[in-house]
Amino acid sequence: MTGFFTLLHKELLRFWKVGFQTVVAPMVSALLYLLIFYHVLEAHIEVYPDVAYTTFLIPGLVMMAVIQNAFANSSSSMIQSKISGNIVFILLSPLTYREIFFAYILASMARGLLVGLGVYAVTLIFFDTPVLLPLWALLFVLLGSAILGALGLIAGIWADKFDQLAAFQNFIILPLSFLSGVFYTIHSLPIGWQYLSHLNPFFYMIDGFRYGFFGVSDISPYISLSIVAICLIAISYLTIWMLRTGYKLRH
């Protein structure tokens, strides 16, 4: 287990040492979203009865911060190591592929949670947003960050250059998170878009997480939980397979 803990520690240190860029900066951008949407939309939209728009928006923004940072952590760590070549130190070591998997995923979860918690804590200064069912919220934040950590690992292993990773991030992760209902409830969408939203796994993470805040959601939290859990298992299997076979890592 020493090997696993060392790699986990290293991955945590890696983002902690540049915490301004990896933790504070994403918090600032999430808060900018909040201020802009609060200013523009607060008076015009009510998504759930008795839930102000900003209050609705906050869990969405928190979850989006979690998702994007969990992904950014494992993907940037992996591709930097690959491109600079220092991934060999991990590949040469007796670490098992499971140890590598869990260390990267847990570090991603930690960064996602840290940023998410930071965003939430700062919003509390301005807006009172209590968490009605904290265990539900925690469950979704853990599962969501784990999925994105694994996706980040997949993207980092798959991409041969930063360009490809940016494409993965900008054409897959970003649209899926923006279109997952962070800023709106999918019931406000035309019926066709509602169906499409149901194909977006990020929708279930955000909807389930929001259920933890308000006890209300677009669909049953149990359905969301099942879908998110299945996604995590499937993506983890894929990631572990890539690590075990040495896909793009061992030639």
Binding site: T2, N86, V88, F89, P94, R250
Partner: protein, 305 residues
Amino acid sequence: MLPAIAIKQVSKRYGNVQALIDVDLDIHPGEFFALLGPNGAGKTTLISIIAGLTLANSGSVKVMGHDVIADYRQARLNVGIVPQELVFDPFFTVREILQMQSGYYGIKNNTRWIDEIIERMDLTDKADANMRALSGGMKRRVLVAQALVHKPPVIILDEPTAGVDVELRQTLWDFIKQLNRDGHTIVLTTHYLEEAETMCNRVAMLKAGRIVALDEIQNLIGKMSGGRSVRLRLLPDRLPEALLPLEINRSNDMHELRIDGYAQLESILSTLRSAKIQILDIQLQQPDLEDVFVNLMRNNGNLAQ
């Protein structure tokens, strides 16, 4: 005796390029072994397969009896690899890197040994400097230090002295020699044949993915080179009749004569004297590994068995 590294029938293909073809090689514990060959001969591929960084298409490799695929954890615990590229992690200091490296190998409190390798690699001043701030030679030392944190019985160095200044090269070799004396098996690749000649017991020469020579250096030189010779410049510029059968080469105004031993010089000199031929210049030619190398790479010679 169990070989330190046992390579059996290893082949590796990259697309259409056959990087290694049925390579068989046993390296014994305690050896100081060199893998030689021109660029693209397959040296780094072979090392990468031993390290588990590259997967062979067929064949097997064992390190201290552990298969590098099936039993990869044990195999990797038994080998330390110094990669050819100057790779480093820019987030950490030298000491942090070495502590992490120990951790990867399951070693918790390694401070004493880390201190010792830092000192022996002459890195004490730089121990708490970030990797980015180090010169190329310093980074090379850290790479060697990293390969040693888990005290592996087998140490493999892929061109450890490439781009390293003379002074560091000397320190590095002294240190590696010391490791060999301490019982570590050393395998290295190098382009500097004179280094291999002075340091190693045995060499394998690779050419286009095959081992074309595998022997102790002295045997190789004996087998492959034309033996000793003497080069003479004469006045007048002609060889006496009696010496003509000895001539093996003539370039410009130098005559090269094969000799079986230095004792033969005496008779050559006296023949010249009695023919009233003056010697303007004389050079003794001692064959070295470079001759063997050049011969092998030029011809299709195969001395592997």
